[in-house]
Structure formats: C-alpha cells, structure tokens
C-alpha cells in the first residue's frame, strides 16, 4: 500500500494513493498509520479520495486506529465517495468517524472549532 504524508499546522495529512482498500491492504494500512501515531502524529487527516473500493476489513482497520488514538488525538476521514461513502453509512460508522468531503474542509472545520 502507498501512503504519502504531509504536515499542515498540527495536522498530518496521510493520503492513500491506492484505489483499493481490501483485506490484503488492511494490515498494511493499520501498520503505516499506527507508525505515524507512534511517532507522535496525533491529529491525522486520512484522505481516501483516490479510493474507489473499500471493504469491511479496511473499515475495521480504521476503527482500530481510532481506538489507538483514544482521546489523545483526532482521525478525520476525507474524500469518501461512491460505494466507499456507502460503506460508512450502511455500517453507521459515519457517526463514529469525523468525516469531511475534502482535506480543505477538514482543516477549515478544525480551525473553526479550535
């Protein structure tokens, strides 16, 4: 799996470059974001706008990351669309994750509530 990271103020923006997040990718995803968290990046914006397909194993990996952060930090998911957005809605996990249409909106919303 390929992730590119970038810092913007207190946020680390992790962009998933693959178009597919499935059961093979889930452990890698978990590993690379967990590494960011362990390095002290506690406010993460995970941009999945390139992702056209995601299964429930990957959703599970995201939940495990959310738990890892606890209330030490933030995990905001941006850019979910199509069947990926549906997956969050059908499982009602869109209520648990902070979600935004894109990275700029996520950053803007965070400034407003800061």
């Amino acid at each position: 799996m390929q992730v590119s990271t970038q810092t913007q103020g207190r946020f680390t923006i992790a962009t998933i470059l693959d178009t597919r997040m499935d059961a093979t990718i889930a452990p890698q995803l978990k590993h690379s974001i967990a590494q960011l968290i362990n390095e002290g990046h506690n406010c993460i914006i995970l941009d999945i706008s390139a992702v056209t397909f995601m299964d429930s194993s990957s959703l599970g990996a995201l939940v495990s990351l959310l738990k890892m952060l606890g209330n030490r930090g933030d995990l905001i998911i941006t850019g979910a669309r199509g069947i990926v957005a549906d997956l969050f809605k059908l499982t009602r996990m869109d209520r648990v994750f902070r979600m935004a249409v894109d990275v700029d909106t996520a950053l803007g919303a965070s400034l407003a509530t800061a």
Binding site: R20, D22, A23, T24, T52, F53, D55, S56, S57, L59, G60, A61, V63, S64, L66, K67, G82, I83, D86, L87, L90, T91, R92, M93, R95, V96
Partner: protein
Amino acid sequence: MDTNYQEYNIRLSIDSRLEQVRVLSGALRGIGQELQLTDDKLGQLELIMVEAVNNVIEHAYQLESGNEVHVRVEYSPQEVHLIISDHGQAMPDQLHTEVRVMPNPEDLPEGGWGMGLIHLLADSIRYIRDARGNHLHVSKHLV
C-alpha cells in the same frame, strides 16, 4: 441452459487466498462495464461479492490456501445474480436466514459487518448446501 440471447452467464474462480480477490473484483467490474451497469450498482455488487468471498476464505476455508472459490455471475436486463460457492465449512444458519443486526457503532467494532452488509445491499439472499458444497445466492435488481 438458458438460450435467451439477452442473458449472460459467466463463472469465475480463484484460489482461496485474500490477495487473489482483487482480480475477481477486476473481472466483475469489467463484466459490469461491458453490460453497462451503472457505477452505483456495480459498486454495490462488488462490495457484496468481496464480503462474501472474504468470508469464504476467512471462515469457510479458515485462511487455508489451495481451495477453490467460485463466483457465478448471471445477468439479465432485470437483475444480476451472484452465486458464491465453496466446499468448506458451512455458514451458521442464522447468518443467512435472519436479517443480521449490524454491530453497534458506539462499541467501536472492528468487524462483524460482512453478512449484514450483504443483507442490506442485496434484494434477496439464499444459502444452499448440496453435494458440491455451499452456495450463497444473492440477487440484485437493476430496474
């Protein structure tokens, strides 16, 4: 054998390894595009298929490679059927007979959504066990 020229039928199969599932997805998407399904329907069919196939590999075959996972795609302009077959352990009955309750989001679940998603996305579900194995038969209306 159906002879209606508007009906299409194809069987796909892979070995029971999670990393093979993406080629199955690719094949399904290509079939759907050839038959001009909408992106919406195709995404839903792909999610149904992948959740069912992941379950077969993880549960019916206990992540043991060297077993076959079959997916039959039947298309008519009215509906698509996906039949996912395996010869591994059978699924517990209540998993396909009852609409499955999704895990509670507040519990921060890390799994357990698979069959629930299939129930939500499919128009009908049937699970059949016969001499050749287990068959999860899912249909999805197109109109």
